[in-house]
């Protein structure tokens, strides 16, 4: 290259200039000591745009074709998680379908119908197949559709979904965060169980689905489909889909951008909503044990595609699109929630260099504000408490004083009375003395008188003695 005679090289590489897309970014100090950036040209070749024209040819096997394997192995060793939300009226078959779908018995007591309001209960299980471990979180609605007034039925569901997004957002915004160990509870799929009336969607269904469609991937299914005949089912499905479309409800569409599954997904999209039958009882049909529901007039086999769409549901939900459901939840629904939430909190996208700070500053400022607010309230409450205590204390003291006063008074009265009584006693004693004296005096006088009389009569008795 420098013009020297180089050794003849066998199969010399040809530098095909037009194939190499080179972009250089030079960082060098400017005259004033600052830095100049040649930024924009760092052309980010979006791999999704198919940058074939600008690729470089490799002369041999490098080995990065193992990258997908490396990625998959890492994910597998970390385990996956999947969260399903089952929305439907009590008794429509939610837990049975989950049991059927995952070939196991997630024990659960059937719910009662007299629950006062709608609430959600969630349980987490772990299942393993070959080397793939999946943490499965199933959330059921309890009491949905049971109330007389169903206006607020959708609210707990929306709150739950939002709460999971909120938790994730909180974790993401933390300064010291552990996103890799975070137990992701965001709802990846919502199975909406439509009761098989055969006519159309209930207004409760429409309202609920409308509220949920921007927050979660909704997959509507017709439950207990063995109660509807084939013709009715066909009409029912068409009616449901048209109602959903006319009400602007966005249900989850299976993705058709990957050629390998595009066709399958497209066909499946046409079969929505899936009419499913769930059962965990096994029955012998032919020479195999299959899961089925036995009626006097026949047996409905769960895994028979002519009988119901269970196989389609399982295929779509688990075997083909599970990863896509997770991705859509993260990139579409969560981002939407995050955007709304941050805007609500007052953040705005600006191109300042201080962006991370401004977000966190505002966030911190708000948090400080909130904290201060809380502290203030706490102080207030504390003050009030103190004041009340003082009041009460005062009252009690008053009462005490009163009691003391009363006691004193009584005591005084008592002593007064005692005095009086004593006086009286004294007087009485004096009187008695006086009386005694008088008595004595009287007696003495009497005695004298007697003596006198006796001496006077002593002469007389001589005369009287003869009488005896």
């Amino acid at each position: 290259m420098k013009g020297k005679l180089e050794e003849p090289v066998i199969s010399a590489p040809k530098l095909d200039m037009k194939m190499a897309a080179e972009v250089e970014r030079t960082l060098s100090p400017g005259a004033d000591g600052g830095r100049q950036f040649d930024m924009d040209d760092f052309d980010i070749l979006d791999a999704e745009q198919g940058a074939d024209a600008r690729s470089l040819e490799l002369k041999g096997h490098v080995g990065f074709d193992s990258l997908p394997d490396q990625l998959v192995n890492k994910s597998v060793s970390g385990g996956f998680c999947f969260n399903i939300l089952c929305v439907g009226e009590t008794g429509v078959g939610k837990s049975t379908l989950m049991d059927t779908l995952f070939n196991t018995q997630f024990e659960d007591e059937p719910a009662a119908h007299d629950v006062p309001g709608v609430h959600l209960k969630s349980k987490t299980y772990e299942i393993q197949e070959s080397n793939v471990r999946l943490k499965l979180n199933i959330v059921y609605t309890v009491g949905f559709g049971d109330q007389i007034n169903k206006e607020d039925s959708y609210k707990p569901i929306v709150e739950y979904i939002d709460q999971q997004f909120e938790n994730y957002l909180q974790e993401e915004l933390k300064i010291k965060r552990g996103l890799h160990m975070y137990h992701d509870t965001r709802v990846h799929a919502c199975l909406y169980f439509i009761t098989p009336t055969g006519h159309s969607l209930k207004s409760l269904d429409l309202v609920t689905m409308k509220k949920l469609d921007s927050k979660v991937n909704i997959i509507p299914i017709i439950a207990k489909a063995d109660t509807i005949s084939k013709n009715e089912l066909h009409k029912f499905k068409i009616k449901i889909m048209s109602e959903l479309v006319s009400n602007g409800v966005q249900i989850y569409q299976f993705p058709t951008d990957d050629e390998t599954v595009a066709e399958l997904n497209a066909t499946m999209n046409g079969h929505l909503p899936f009419a499913v039958v769930g059962s965990t009882d096994e029955v012998k049909v032919g020479n195999k044990m299959v899961r089925a529901r036995v009626y006097p007039w026949g047996t409905v086999q769960v895994e028979n595609e002519n009988h119901c769409d269970f196989v389609k549901l399982r295929e779509m939900l688990v075997r083909t699109n599970m990863e896509d459901l997770r991705e859509t939840t993260h990139t579409r629904h969560y981002e939407l929630f995050r955007r709304c939430r941050l805007e609500e909190m007052g953040f705005v996208d600006d191109d300042s260099d201080n962006k991370p700070f401004s977000l966190h500053e505002t966030y911190e400022a708000k948090r400080v504000e909130h904290l201060n607010e809380l502290q203030r309230k706490e102080e207030e409450m504390r003050q009030m408490f103190v004041v009340r205590v003082k009041e009460k204390e005062g009252e009690l003291k008053e009462a005490e004083k009163e009691l003391h006063a009363k006691f004193d008074q009584l005591k005084r009265q008592h002593s007064d009375e005692k005095k009086k009584l004593e006086e009286k006693k004294k007087m009485l004693e004096e009187e008695i003395n006086l009386f005694n004296k008088k008595k004595q005096a009287a007696m003495a006088a009497q005695q004298q008188a007697q003596q006198a009389a006796a001496s006077a009569t002593q002469t007389i008795p001589k005369a009287h003695k003869k009488k005896w």
């Binding site: 600008r54 690729s55 096997h61 490098v62 490396q70 070939n103 209960k121 996208d349 991370p356």
Partner: protein, 407 residues
Amino acid sequence: MSSQQGFTLSGKQFEALCAAFETADVQKRGSIDVQIVPKLVQDVLGSSLAPSEKDAIRLRAESKAKKGVLYFADFVEVMSETLQTTTQWGKLTTTLSGYVGIDTLQEQMRKKALKRGFEFHIMVVGGSGLGKSTLVNTLFKAQISRRSCTNESEGTIPKTVQIKSVSHVIEEKGVRLKLTVTDTPGFGDQINNENCWLPILEFINDQYEKYLSEEVNVSRKKHIPDTRVHVCLYFISPTGHSCRPLDLEFMKRLDKVVNIVPIIAKADTLTLEERYAFKKRVREDLEFHGIQFYPMKSLDEDEEETAINQALREKMPFAIVGSDREYQVNGKSVLGRKTKWGLIEVENKNHCEFALLRDMLIRTHMQDLKDVTDSIHYENFRRERLEMHSEFAGPTPPYHEMGESNL
């Protein structure tokens, strides 16, 4: 984690916990000692836990323990939290009675990854003439970087360290990789090399900054372009003695910021004994100065990984010879350097350790390099950056979860 409501245990799980608790509570006090909690958890799960997990469990138990003992309700809480963070549930796994199909998740994930394509950013640092560009070309078997001798028409040594990035998209068997190579001409070339690592450090932090500001946007892109440096190959000059002060300074400052892989350049100047001794001294030097190069010991999680990485660590720094010329040997075409005294085959494991480096970088640890960059280095950067401006350093409680009032 405690703010995640709704994690109720199923009946079977609860029973297992009850049973385990009762067997552990020999004195029937209704409480168990904190020390035995990790072992108890391991028994309940029936699988062996990594030491880091055991520590985490112990911490949780200690935080909930009252006077060194744990009551049943607290034990259940510790268990729930543990179950949330791990997928190794062992005996508590629900058994399936038929094929469900969740193992197709691997395929699904692979398809999505293939469609998305991959990105990788490699940086080469070392004095000029050590063969950096040649090595990159050899690694990826393509003319990725032009040699600097063809670049600078003036032929002058640049006044300071320059940072030059080049991007290509290469494809192999359907896997598309956007490869970015950053070269640092001028490193270590001046008379006074103080602070020559600063531009490099700044460049790396700039990439983190770019990523952070994208991440923090209210409206984010679907896929944030990852221009962060995933690995930094540091070229050590084959003096045969030990590391030079510049080498140590650089690595000391950068090992907490980026994955560093030290390599011995132009190893064909060392005999095998010299090579072995040199490597040993370099390793000792690095250890003495507390420099952690990739793969880092502190990140090894399970035994398998530790074994593999330990074997690699013992062979590092790899002694490399690079070449993009091909010669015929025994009818095969090999890359090599031809000298008067012989032909050094680049991919021959007896001649040099290029193959080991390539295998580690590309065939086995590429994804791990990216993951470590994302979960460790980037998170460190983010934390420091946000803590710098926030007056409230340390873990901040979430927006709604406030401290308990003392009323």
